[in-house]
């Protein structure tokens, strides 16, 4: 349809265009200089998207630790001082991006180690990369045991398994019965998120129940889709189950949405819990007194009596201008600290040696419950949970285990 002249031009121009595009590809991408005296720590967390808030807190936890280490002069390896440098990427709560960015930080940025993966889905996606690039990867935000059951050699999880969260919650409920606050034989309704996190939680609870017959029965157990706007149908079913206790396992946004609709449905249960969510600032802001009496099983609380925990709280306040919100920053903080300790102990920037050191590492002044952070053989840490309760007046008290308690649990809900 066009003549020969135009065709020539067109293809020449096309070639030029594509050459330009290729040129874009060929231009060297800046990679962080490794060696010299910096060690690059990759950080891949969501600071936008559904998980933006917790991701932000975890980022701050890591950065606080890095700052403190650098302020002390950095790490000393074979007599040389090394500065820690953070290479941060926001994965926007998108699992495909999360994996892609983890890969990028391990390859282009040549990170010595990577901390990342807030929330199970993002963690699962990222967990594929560490073994591929033989780079140690620590997750302060993904607790589903499935990540650690594939035989990966370079993954470490700073969160205690959700299975333990479930059984601790049930154990706490049993404790309430023993204390006479609840009757025996109560019925439990469970509505959990449709993820490994939710499934692990249910298993943990049911595990404990089957080992302690007579205490509780689960009369309702269903999974809901993450990120829903309307849980009223699900809550109708919960209402119809006529249970005494309502246990849910959800992420922050769903927790807020569901609790709001729970209150609007006029329901009442003797005990309510949303798994690992409860005292978050965002929930307080969105629901006000609506979050009172809710229990949460969390990986760290600012009420823990350890001096190192109090120091962390003060340092964090200075660093960010606000107090730590729930447990998020704490696990990230200690992940960085144990990583730094392992690098130091390995005496080398060799990633595999660091991985080996991580396997043996013990952070003895951990701010986490139990004060010792150590990774198990599958890479996942295990330390006790604390159960907290939102109490009237905006207070959050640790109510379990007894030896860490700062307040008495209020049950049943008035």
């Amino acid at each position: 349809m066009e003549n020969r002249f135009m065709r020539n031009r067109r293809w020449k121009a096309g070639l030029l265009f594509l050459a330009g595009v290729a040129g874009l590809f060929a231009s060297p991408t800046q990679s962080a200089a490794q060696g010299g005296d910096t060690i690059t720590i990759g950080v891949v967390l969501p600071i936008s998207g559904r998980e933006g808030k917790p991701g932000q807190y975890q980022k701050e936890g890591v950065e606080l630790a890095i700052k403190q280490i650098n302020d002390k002069g950095g790490l000393t390896i074979k007599g040389k001082k090394y500065h820690l440098k953070e290479a941060f990427y926001d994965d926007g709560s998108d699992s495909a991006k999360s994996a892609s960015l983890a890969e990028r930080v391990m390859s282009t940025d040549n990170a010595t180690a990577v901390i990342g993966g807030y929330s199970t889905a993002l963690g699962e996606a990222e967990s594929v990369m560490p073994d591929r690039y033989k780079t140690p990867w620590l997750t302060p935000g993904a607790a589903a045991t499935s990540i650690f059951s594939h035989g990966y050699q370079y993954v470490f999880g700073t969160l205690s398994p959700v299975l333990l969260l479930g059984s601790t919650t049930a154990e706490f409920l049993g404790y309430l019965v023993d204390q006479g606050k609840l009757k025996k034989g109560l019925k439990i309704a469970m509505a959990v998120e449709n993820t490994d996190h939710g499934i692990d939680y249910v298993n943990g609870v049911q595990d404990w129940i089957s080992k302690h017959p007579g205490y509780f029965t689960v009369v309702f157990n269903e999974k809901f889709e993450l990120g829903g706007t309307d849980f009223s149908g699900l809550l109708q079913k919960v209402k119809a189950a006529r249970a005494d206790i309502f246990l849910s396992d959800a992420h922050l946004q769903d927790y807020i949405t569901m609790q709001r609709q729970y209150l609007q449905s006029g329901m009442h249960h003797q005990v309510i819990s949303y798994g690992a969510r409860g005292p978050e600032e965002a929930a307080r802001k969105a629901l006000g007194d609506g979050i009172n009496y809710i229990f949460a099983g969390i990986w760290w609380s600012d009420k823990l009596p350890y001096p190192q925990a109090q120091k962390f709280i003060n340092d964090y306040k200075q660093f960010t201008g606000r107090a730590p919100d729930s447990w998020y920053a704490a696990t990230a903080y200690d992940s960085m600290r144990i990583l730094a300790q392992a690098i130091q102990q390995a005496g080398s920037t060799d990633k595999t040696k660091i991985r080996d050191a991580l396997r043996k590492a013990e952070l003895k002044d951990s701010i986490l419950p139990g004060t010792v952070l150590k990774y198990g053989p599958n890479g996942q840490a295990g330390y006790p949970f604390v159960i907290v309760q939102n109490q009237p007046g905006g207070k959050v008290e640790i109510v379990y285990p007894k030896n860490a308690a700062t307040g008495a649990p209020i049950a049943p809900t008035p």
Binding site: R7, S48, D94, S95, S107, L122, E124, A125, N194
Partner: protein, 338 residues
């Protein structure tokens, strides 16, 4: 065979040669990853264009084939099959799905069809999020033993994308392609002239689905972990389907090289700019779409032609390009009904 014709044919082969030899220059693994991802996107872009560009049936639901291809390949690899078998399996599953989707929905016209495809994709996504066999919302993981050979993935994707371009070019020049364009122009008139729109749409859909399924398989094998929703990046996610649609539109809907260009641009933008400026990438796509629709509906290819025509006009004012317009009516995008 004139010199110009030879030149026209040679350029794609030259590019192919360059890409084949490219790894010998020792590129960073990040660069190889970007190229790999771009190839995968280009395949989906070309595939969508066959149905949306050549045949004029706008589907928002190509993520279904991408996702099914990904899962099919993952399941096959995990049960011990070779990757090539897995790719074929992925294509097969996608083709099957394309019939399941197409048989009922191609009876619909225009916006009804588009809306139906959205419904189908979301329904499949929710079901896949719940089926325990494939892991439900927890996603599915491929266990492949052996070291990670990045270049293997690169070459597989390169071959696949070359194949896709070849298929697209063949369709464009063939009688099959002519029939598709006739359907796009005016379905009823085409039917009068002996083209059965329903069957042709189904076949175009099948080819497109096969290609998209392979793309999904490539993605799955590289990323190892796939999940349906992924917080926005899952293989069945709504945004995935939108991205697939965006590329040919940006590049030039209804052309052979448009989807390739669109896919390339999209790949670069996604990988590089999104990382550096994550805050505005929606704005970029949105503004780009608006500009394309209002100013240059033929996308980058159209822009390119315009520039060329600018040169042409200086030399002599012939009826070449205008004959083009007369043949196809107004530009490929505007005025053309859904």
């Amino acid at each position: 065979m004139t010199a110009a014709r030879l030149g026209k044919l040679a350029v794609p082969f030259v590019i192919l040669l360059l890409l084949l030899l490219f790894p010998a220059t020792g590129p960073s693994s990040d660069l190889v990853k970007i190229l790999f991802t771009t190839f995968v996107w280009i395949i989906t872009s070309i595939a969508w264009n066959i149905v949306g560009g050549f045949t004029g049936q706008v589907s928002f639901g190509f993520a279904v084939f991408y996702g099914l291809g990904a899962y099919a390949a993952a399941l096959l690899i995990n049960s011990g099959r070779s990757p090539y078998f897995a790719f074929l399996g992925a294509a097969g599953v996608a083709v099957l799905a394309s019939f399941l989707v197409g048989l009922p929905t191609f009876r619909l016209r225009g916006p009804y069809f588009a809306i139906a495809t959205i419904g189908v994709t979301e329904a499949v996504r929710v079901v896949m999020s719940n089926v325990p066999f494939t892991g439900g919302a927890s996603g599915y993981r491929i266990t492949e033993y052996g070291p990670f050979r990045q270049l293997e993935h690169y070459y597989q994707a390169l071959v696949a994308v070359a194949l896709a371009v070849a298929i697209s070019a063949w369709i464009s020049g063939s009688r099959f392609g002519l029939a598709l364009r006739a359907i796009k122009q005016d379905q009823d008139a085409a039917a009068q002239l002996g083209v059965n729109p329903y069957t042709f749409k189904l076949w175009a859909h099948a080819i497109a689905a096969a290609l998209t399924g392979v793309a999904g398989a490539l993605h799955a094998r590289y990323n190892i972990y796939i999940d349906p929703t992924g917080g926005a990046g899952g293989v069945f996610a709504f945004t995935t389907g939108i991205s697939i649609l965006l590329m040919p539109v940006i590049g030039g809907i209804g052309t052979v090289w448009g989807p390739v260009l669109g896919g390339a641009v999209f790949g670069i933008v996604e990988e590089e700019i999104v990382v550096k400026f994550p805050q505005i990438h929606l704005l970029l796509y949105g503004a780009l779409l608006i500009l394309i629709v209002l100013l240059e509906p033929d996308g980058l290819v159209g822009l390119f032609h315009r520039i060329v025509r600018l040169f042409r006009r200086r030399r002599d004012d012939s009826g070449g390009p205008r004959a083009d317009k007369v043949l196809w009516g107004r530009s490929r995008l505007e005025g053309r009904e859904l």
